[in-house]
Symmetry: C2
Subunit: 520 residues, 2 copies
């Protein structure tokens, strides 16, 4: 979740981002001084930006001078409308999609109709909402009116938020009848500046479904209720939904909408009429999901000789201490693999894991720089799938390569200050120099790959790259991400679970030559 | 088509690609000297490489020493089996997919069963093949046996080619019955080192279908035949196919295969069980197609002050001459748009264009460097959708930035020679230095975007980037691409058509201050 988003105004960018080009996310309001009215200019831009390529920080739109200051007006605006029965993993998909898009720097927000219903039913409950299955009976017309109103109110809130500068608004509800979807579409027709993408989640895997239903029983709707009673009520609620459920299909296609149906989390994907750049990115991300249980290990390289003197960049070798870390890392990962294998054998719990057997291969990824490659030198390529990936290289610091931060402060005080003020947008000066946003863009294909993989994975990389990867995996606010402490000789372990990622942190203790777990 | 592929052995790579890491495409045969047999080691590697991330040049696999020299053994191997009735655009898809994958440096080859049938039926025609619709009657058992044999022979040829180092083999045939597909799958089961991806093309758009059928009548099968007669025969052939046609569906899903159904060229896409990295890339590419008529204009920036003195890299401004080019470019493109609009109005020919109206917006993309941005300064952002895209920046020459080629030869004679010998693989030394392969990887998302767009597009970029983009758009052999002449002040115009790209070339004549068309 984006708790304290940094406003995207006045990005401080180095080489290649001078006057005349503005980030589409960073545009205000001013009167047009030419023949064309400001309104029609803005309209034309909004229409264009709905479809065209948009990578915050890496693609800059040139706006007419009159519009250059108009803030939060342009760039792709997408309304995602979820469709699907309860307990089909909609909220899981929504959370992941929000996390991904936010990481790519599109402001994304979820508008959950169920939460609105629960809030509405608090207090005197004059408006007639209820948690009971009776409220979800399609023949209960007064309840249906309330449900429709709640859905529309959420949509209004979503539209207001997009107008204030949001980029992707997600309408999280069952929206399971064609009539309901038509109602939402009709409302959006008067908002020509938003594109609509329907995403339907279908789950036919009985194991996953049973698990999802169990999770639902711990929802606030059933607080304090006996489990059997809750289960019976939820079952009836489901039946009520199923009676009115209309899957996305040919009839919806006639409306010219774009939609994506996800069947069993990435197993089968049906995409119809996908048109915008952003919609295409969403679909590619969603189609690469899987629920296999696995660990993603992340660490920086062992201490390098440049680390000792505090130089940034470069391609230094490991220090003696760094080599000890590398050595211990390979033993520790081997040990962890053995532990995992044991615990898996004894695992009896009915869980998602049952339908997804853990893969035995472990992938090891490093950058193409010496210090990360040396860090995995003890890993046997017969046992590990070791890859050196250029996209994992450290941020390229341009003219600041090989300097220490205090040297940068002395030699380029203005650059030092600009970086301090907005580290996320700051691009190192000099040809090829990168910003955090540039690194996010180049890591994007690797995030898709991490989501696609089913095997365990160890990533050995560099400070900035690690911050950005953790930013995604741990859903860290972009205001905090560039300043996260990611120390040398620290190993993170992420286990993606259906309802969030379990994160553990291990520190190498040189004296013990082993890792100890630490609080986060 | 890959006419003279450069062998991928001994890639000459700069920083970050030293001993111990080899491109998976560049691996020979040697006996294993350790406990594990060479066979089982190779097996383990092949299995892994079937699924994992693989970007030729940008991802290097670390192999055990024993296997380091084994050539063309590893890396993803994919068998694409096409499915679909005749005249459904299979060959169009196959050609585009081959072009794309070859450009990404995966050796890709198409094995067309129809061509094999035509070759087989030449001469004495003892084997009983024929072009007549009778040959395609599903009840004609002797013909069916021959058709099955031809399909299997093509598959055998494909498998042999993969074993010799190919990466993606495409079996281009109708493969329209489940029985036929089962037959191919059974044969592939004894090849555990290949993944199989079925791609079905379905076309329900009557305009596209009528166009495709007309194209078929000019196929060699109907050479010298009267058109009405040919049409009648082809209609009967289609009917014969339709009788036996079984679309990919739930029954195939039970076989655990991975498949992708493309309905009306990118309009609707159904993807099932997609597992490998390479398969995912193929699907993402295929789902972003469209048949809208449009122009893609490409040029280098106008002459820069560094061009005058022959310096590479850097971020120089335009020279006076370069500014004149920029000025003329904006007038010429405006003129061309007006001409296109006129010709469209008078267009009467029944063509694909009918069902895809031309968009009016023109997108203009530049890199983030001064010389490309200055080249589009005369384009009015009210009329053009102008974007500055970092991924279009020139190849970063590392320590050679700002030098002339003769200075590089003097200062770094070994680098100069290494680059001369293998320009495609050569990576400039120094942190951040790039190779052609690196640039291909970073341009990949833009290629997808070019395919996805429906509007006209002008790309203003740099020499190396332009060569690589033309390499894709014009399907230029990788042995020629790095040495292509792409002069300053030259404008290319590409019109993607259902059966290939129409390319035109214009040269700016300074004296006339206008563009003249030139032979390619």
């Amino acid at each position: 979740m984006q708790k304290n988003p940094i406003p995207l105004t006045n990005p401080i960018l180095g080489a290649g981002a001078k006057a005349g080009a503005v980030d589409v996310a960073a545009a205000g309001t001013r009167m047009a001084g030419n023949g064309m009215s400001l309104e029609s200019q803005s309209e034309a831009f909004r229409r264009r930006s709905l479809c065209s390529i948009d990578q915050p920080g890496a693609v800059m739109s040139k706006l007419p001078q009159e519009l250059e200051d108009s803030q939060h007006e342009f760039g792709s605006k997408l309304v995602v409308i979820m469709v699907g029965l309860p307990a089909r993993g909609k909220s899981y998909l929504v959370k992941k999609l929000q996390r991904y898009l936010t990481w790519l720097q599109y402001d994304t927000k979820v508008f959950n109709v169920g939460n609105r219903r629960r809030i509405a039913s608090k207090g005197d409950n004059k408006n007639g909402t209820s948690h009971s299955h009776v409220f979800f009976d399609p023949n209960n017309t007064s309840a249906k009116t309330i449900r429709d109103e709640l859905a529309l109110e959420s949509l209004e809130e979503l539209i207001r938020w997009l107008k204030q500068g949001g980029r992707v608004g997600i309408h999280d509800a069952t929206n399971s009848s064609r009539e309901r979807r038509k109602m939402l579409l009709n409302r959006l027709e008067s908002e020509p500046n938003c594109r609509v993408l329907f995403i339907e989640s279908i789950c036919t895997d009985p194991v996953v479904l049973a698990h999802n239903i169990s999770m639902k029983l711990s929802s606030p709707d059933y607080k304090g209720m006996d489990e059997a009673q809750a289960r019976a009520d939820f079952k009836k609620r489901l039946e009520n939904y199923e009676r009115a459920y209309q899957t996305l299909g040919e009839e919806d296609e006639e409306d010219g909408i774009q939609y994506c149906k996800l069947i069993n989390v990435g197993k089968k994907v049906i995409a119809y009429n996908i048109q915008g750049y952003l919609a295409g990115q969403c679909i590619f991300y969603l189609m690469n999901f899987n629920l296999s249980p696995r660990c993603i290990w992340l660490t920086r390289h062992g201490e390098s000789v440049d680390n000792i003197v505090g130089k940034i960049g470069g391609d230094a070798a490991l220090s003696a201490k760094g080599r000890s870390y590398a050595d211990c890392l390979s033993r520790f990962i081997k040990h962890q693999r053995e532990e995992n294998a044991k615990s898996q054998e004894t695992e009896t719990e009915a869980s998602i894991a049952i339908s997804h057997q853990r893969e035995k291969t472990v992938a090891v990824w490093t950058s193409m720089l010496t210090r990360t490659k040396e860090t995995v030198e003890q890993f046997d390529p017969k046992e590990y799938d070791i890859k050196h990936i250029r996209f994992l290289n450290e941020i390229y610091a341009g003219i600041c390569e090989g300097l220490s931060y205090s040297q940068i402060e002395q030699l380029y005080p203005e650059e030092y200050e600009a970086r301090r003020v907005n580290k996320l947008f700051y691009r190192y000066p000099g040809m090829g120099g990168e910003s955090y946003l540039d690194v996010i863009q180049r890591l994007n294909p690797l995030i898709i790959e991490i989501e696609r993989m089913t095997s365990d994975l160890l990533i050995v990389t560099h400070r900035v790259v690690l911050r950005i990867l953790l930013g995604y995996l741990m859903d860290i606010d972009r205001s905090r991400m560039p300043d996260m402490d990611v120390h040398l000789h620290t190993l993170y372990c992420m286990e993606p679970k259906p309802h969030g990622t379990v994160v553990r942190k291990f520190r190498w203790v040189e004296e013990q030559d082993w890792f100890v777990e630490e609080a986060l």
